[in-house]
Symmetry: C2
Subunit: 223 residues, 2 copies
């Protein structure tokens, strides 16, 4: 595997990870429906615990919708300037798609029999009885993985994004009629970056060094 | 921007997103220290709210450590089989790195003066008074973004991964002496996939269709 078939992709993927930057200045260029669809098509491949895929995305393109979203996000101007706004939602019901997911496992031979399938559905249904906070945490974990995929997928298509966690979730729920079962996990703006946008210009912000974030073999007593 | 400089990377990034699969069968091939370091070096570029970067990673390579990790993960065998185990941690203290982050913004001209810098540090310190559940949610959101970056960075280097949320967080804390301020967000196994591993063979599992996960303009009343 050292001379792996994956090696050819290393440089390109590194480029996208290393050079993705959160962009606030967008050009007026329209994002084609097909491009946008391609971004969310890739988001589908994100992994999730038991493959339960709790993520959904509200995509906002009209001026009125983006102005309303900006109001929910403490008036941040780039929410209006970007041609696309996204509300990233996580379903707090772990069992929302359990039947389909485990039927699929059974059909493809990942489960031996119907009994095992039924037991898994039952197990996931029991998670409904966990505390609301526990299920918000559960859905945030998988949904954030999907949000990161959206940002890389967008970047691979020349689009920039900016993730935001500073917004009023209740205002978002009300304005966009989000059903109660969804947790608004984060917002994203998306569009082609303006010439000279922060994406290209301006010094990169500080990142914590790798030796600080990695602990080989465990924590030291001193940490 | 339609003929963007990013276009060249589209196919390669799509390949990595689309073909990444959670792998349980690993080869015996050792992962070089430098390769592993390169993966976590890329994780650093993940975005986070206010650039607060709450993520840390405990990297386990010895047989004893991986056996102990497998025990914390309900005995899942691939945790022992994979040459690398990773505990993905999120710091629940939002202000842990606030001084350095906002000093950097000031130095690079992203803030106008020291007063603004101090106000931001103060604002983030006040988040310490939020409920424990709120800060667990906060750190999970950013830390999961970093975990997804780790998985794509690994894939770009020929490594496969498998994320796990089914484990005993208290057992992980105790065995690996994780300080209380960290939330164990997920575990990852990592290594070169075995020949014929699920990564390459075996039918892909069901993914929810794009029209089901995307809501353009908001939710319908019927949803």
């Amino acid at each position: 595997m050292a001379e792996s078939e994956f090696d050819a992709t290393a440089a390109e993927v590194e480029e996208v990870i290393r050079n993705r930057r959160s962009v606030h200045d967008y050009s007026d260029e329209t994002v084609a429906d097909e491009t946008l669809r391609g971004v969310f098509d890739l988001a589908r491949y994100t992994p999730s615990g038991y493959n339960l895929q709790p993520w959904e995305f509200v995509v906002l393109r009209s001026d009125g919708d983006r102005e309303a979203l900006a109001e929910c996000a403490h008036g941040q101007e780039h929410v209006v300037d970007a041609p696309v706004g996204v509300i990233v939602l996580g379903n707090t019901d772990p069992a929302a798609h359990a039947d389909r997911v485990f039927d699929d496992w059974l059909a493809k031979g990942y489960l031996s029999d119907e009994e095992t399938r039924d037991a898994l559905v039952e197990q996931v249904r029991e998670w409904r009885d966990r505390s609301e906070d526990e299920n918000r945490l559960w859905t945030t974990r998988s949904t954030a993985l999907a949000a990161m995929t959206v940002m890389y997928a967008a970047r691979s298509k020349g689009l920039s994004t900016c993730p935001m966690e500073g917004f009023d979730p209740e205002a978002v729920r009300e304005r966009f009629e989000i059903p109660d079962r969804f947790e608004p996990v984060m917002l994203l703006t998306m569009g082609y970056p303006a010439e000279g946008a922060d994406d290209r210009e301006g010094p990169r912000k500080f990142r914590r060094p790798v030796d600080e974030i990695v602990h080989v073999g465990g924590f030291d007593d001193s940490e």
